[in-house]
Symmetry: C2
Subunit: 609 residues, 2 copies
């Protein structure tokens, strides 16, 4: 039995009350940003959305993504009123509460962490894509702020959603006119937003965002599978419902004071005593392809020359055959990253995200929440474009999300610094909980692709442009958090720690030094994070001198990871990129930046004196 | 005397020939991406643009930014034909040549490095803003690819340019239908691009991009100061002019082979023997405000409680009074970063970039090329959004570009992880040549703002949300690359290295330990990069035990910077963020992540056994 408009309007007032009270209790938060969208949230949670308050899994239901994450209090309030959570709303922002200041998956109802603006629509597009491809029902709703619409990533997601006919996607823009520090760019010019969405291929409706009936009507326009995505541009007032807050500047991110001010505000909201029981509303169950735990067996020959980026593509295709959940997404570099190989298994398993890396990562995160094992690839340098998305993806605690960056380092050669990733290891290592893998040959590449698919959370794989020789047998395993000691003796004078393209150089250096009677240990640090502390510490203690060599900035990469473990035990010479590179042949650049066997030999000799 | 259309058309053919030859010689590069825009470049360089081939400074002239940086060969060819450079075009992509694979400032004609797509328009918008505000003539032209238009940052720049009425800005989109790995999203649907630019507030013209007369007519539409920016949507063919390349898939980033294939291609271009002399064309000189080398004198009281973010705002305003070149740009956080204080000097010196951090950094880079000293600020975590822009800005070797990130670390408290910067030090340190500064009190904040304005290149300043006590006298100096040893004795059992919010904690730990008879050294590492190796090494050798403590990920920040210097000399215990934080009070979070005096004391005790 549908809820009547008057009830939905009163529920909106009740949600406002909760937001005022919880932020006042917390002493911080964004009540006025919640109040502008109270009718939108009321209509969604108590009328439009198919939702089972007993089941936060999101399966066979509609999904809501709060892209304007600072409005978290109204999400918590709606969940509470719908009977979906039992948490005390007044525990908002407390250390012991899952009701954080911005949504995080500490609440099981949050599928993706938000709070950095412009990301929710990308993740929602990924969810919508997965539902659509798998023939599963359910609409994906996401609520954006108007200030947020200035983020370019919103328009990346918009073009993606229209291009892939995601009629199951609905974006609501809460046009409340006021940003954090002043009016937004377009204030109440709702026509500007409408024109944009239309120019990006969406259906769009402008409504009074405080008119419950108008909202219901607008929501009814969307949801057609294969149709246009729907944007509801809702004209609203920040702080709506309380005279001294409504449409007033200076009230962003500011709660009212407990006591008299709060009482005055709440009094203006009228009767908020109602409760609305939300009956479980679900779609008939349609099973999605199971993700599984795929295993692979490499089929390379020792000495064979294969680029790890190509080995990645080969492994990805094998993985896709082994696990129906594996999908690839790429930013118009699929022929360079070799992600296109998955098309041999099924063209539908490859998503062309075009040159829009932020949305690519956001979509991948959304896919993950729908049970996929997404592999998102581009040149490693262009993943810097998506750093904020990568960070937020990690906070979203995805079951699986694999990022693959190719063309790492100066060894790409002639294209020059804009195409060389020199910062990717630093940026990925800095993320709490991330796994960072860096194969040196085709066998380790395939094994690490397999490991990535079986490792929870965010995993990064770094691949190389030039071919490297296969040095591992197909039976070798590469557990995450370990390393390979490739050369060792009881009389090692130093340890060389290499990874990826520098592993062959380290092996060459070993042979050169051996001829001169100097023994060195060589470690392939294929698991850059977590790092194999035990092996590194042992090497540090046994050899007392270490040389690290990485095709990456000397800051934040392998050298410092090793120094952090070895400090106090060994002197560490770090070879890596210290100056802006330029165009040139790969060999010239490797030499100029001291990444060759020759440079390693020189560094070892200097260290052992 | 204007050049006739036939000559411009023939020059386009000659430019194509150069691109075919130089990339064939290099054995790599993107000739077909150059061939699609040959008429556009010909018309710009030999007719439309006011250009003095003898003067690459860009002053009193029009400016050209090649946003689709992979078309570098045609930029080099046009500059050569215009008499602006003497370099051998056949040296393209060679290690000893300034003619790199993508434009870099190794050629004096390149104002901003490009090659990561979607950035040129942002920088161009910054240049246009500076010209417009200073009342200086000159049009800013930037050439984009159609694939590139998928980047959200393009639309951030588009909305910025329209909002600020940058009629002196002109974007040309080379709609050649083909991306790297296949057709673009919209192929030859030029109306889609036109509608978008119009919906973002631009004037737009669709033209045949190979029709010289049509291009001249389109260019004539723009350039009105205070008018709408102009987008020229040019329908073109990739590989235009050579039958076996034109509009063919599979030819992205692929040169023709030297010898027969090249000869066949060149033969199709017809007579390319012409030369066109470019007479110096300049605007009357209008001087811009001089940047100067500002100095500041702090005026704080020891023990005063001031947040470094607020001290930043105060210093910025003082700096703006001292130097006319100083401008601030912010992403709707000006009341939190305190950048709004510059408005007290002049509202015109503050640019509201709204919530679009990529464009904000790109605009700042453009401002820098026009002689400004730009300070771009937002929450430090949101600078991750612009990492690709920051990287490319560093490669652009700006005279001055200061980024300021506020609200760093878990000490922000209740807002939760989405608003905490935990990766910013790692990401900034990894960039070759960047300077990273981190004040701990108001005095050091002001001094470091002064230092930033006087340091060439990219500088990052990290500020803190909570108030900290002033511990330095106003006469203290903070040279880049040094540190402050706050406590030291001949019998120090360990060294604690802190920065920013952890400096007061380190001092407290010192006092606690002193009461127990344990002396420790305390170093304020305000210059995170370059780091004070001499002082750190001395401390490592003298105390043999070090504890680092940072409100940042333990990966890639202060701990590893210290470990890299101290390895072999001292054991290093690194205190920092290792797990995803959550909402809570700042004190609770500092404690949970072991960043307090108590944690430092415990770490020191454990180290000294």
């Amino acid at each position: 039995m549908p809820v009547d408009n008057a009830t939905l309007a009163r529920m909106a007032q009740k949600l406002r009350r909760h937001c005022l009270e919880s932020t006042a209790e917390a002493g911080s938060g964004h009540p006025t940003s919640c109040m502008s969208c109270a009718e939108i949230v009321s209509v969604l949670f108590f009328d439009v959305m198919k939702l089972d308050p007993a089941d936060p899994s999101g399966k066979d239901q509609d999904v809501f993504v709060l892209s304007k994450g600072h409005a978290a209090p109204i999400l918590w309030a709606a969940l509470k009123e719908a009977g979906a959570i039992k948490d005390d709303l007044l525990s908002l922002r407390r250390y012991d509460s899952p009701l954080e200041g911005h949504p995080t998956p500490r609440s099981p109802w949050v599928r993706v962490a938000t709070g950095s603006l412009g990301q929710g629509l990308c993740a929602a597009a990924g969810m919508a894509w997965a539902r659509s491809k798998d023939g599963r029902p359910g609409r994906i709703f996401t609520l954006l702020g108007d200030g947020e619409a200035a983020e370019g990533s919103v328009w990346e997601a918009a073009q993606f959603a229209a291009y892939y006919d995601l009629g199951n996607l609905c974006a609501i823009v809460d046009v409340n006119r006021l940003g954090q520090s002043g009016p937004t760019m377009y204030q109440h010019d709702t026509a500007a937003y409408e024109a944009r969405f239309r120019s990006f291929g969406w259906d769009a409706a402008v409504v009074d965002g405080h008119d419950v009936a108008a909202l219901r009507e607008a929501f009814a326009r969307g949801g057609k599978d294969g149709g246009k995505p729907l944007a509801i541009v809702a004209r609203t007032f920040k702080g709506k419902g309380v005279s001294f807050l409504q449409d007033k500047d200076g009230w962003h991110g500011k709660p009212v004071k407990k006591g008299e001010e709060l009482q005055k505000a709440v009094a203006e909201l009228g009767d908020t005593s109602l409760t609305v029981r939300v009956e479980p509303r679900r779609y008939p169950s349609v099973s999605a392809p199971a993700a599984g735990s795929p295993t692979l067996t490499p089929a390379y020959t020792l000495g064979q020359e294969v680029a790890t980026r190509e080995a990645y593509g080969t492994a990805l295709a094998k993985l896709a055959r082994a696990s129906a959940g594996v999908v690839a997404i790429d930013g118009d570099t699929k022929n360079s990253t070799f992600s296109e190989r998955i098309k041999e298994v099924s063209p539908d398993r490859h998503i062309e995200a075009y040159i829009a890396e932020q949305n690519m990562v956001g979509v991948a995160l959304g896919l993950s929440t729908e049970g996929k094992i997404p592999f998102a690839s581009t040149f490693a340098c262009f993943l810097t474009r998506a750093y904020d998305f990568i960070r937020m993806a990690a906070y979203s605690k995805p079951a699986h999300l694999v990022l693959v960056g190719s063309h790492a380092g100066v060894s790409i050669g002639e294209d020059g610094p804009s195409q060389m990733a020199l910062e990717d290891l630093a940026m990925m290592r800095a993320i709490t909980g991330a796994t960072v893998l860096y194969p040196s040959d085709a066998v380790s590449a395939e094994r690490l692709v397999e490991a990535a698919a079986n490792t929870p959370g965010l995993v990064y794989i770094r691949t190389t442009r030039p071919k490297t020789r296969v040095i591992y047998s197909n039976e070798e395993y590469f557990p995450v958090g370990q390393s390979k000691t490739l050369r060792a003796s009881a009389r090692d004078a130093a340890t060389v720690v290499a990874a990826g393209i520098t592993v062959p150089e380290a092996l060459l250096a070993h042979d050169t030094l051996a001829k001169e009677g100097v023994a060195i240990r060589v470690i392939d640090l294929y698991s850059v994070k977590p790092v194999d502390e035990a092996t590194l510490r042992k090497a540090a203690m046994e050899t007392r001198r270490m040389v690290t060599v990485e095709d990456h900035s000397v800051c934040g990469g392998i050298g410092e990871a090793v120094a952090a473990v070895a400090a106090g035990e060994a002197k560490v010479t770090m070879l890596g990129v210290r100056e802006t590179p330029r165009s040139g042949k790969p060999g010239e650049l490797m030499k100029a930046h001291r990444l060759t066997a020759e440079a390693i030999v020189a560094a070892v000799k200097q260290l052992i004196g």
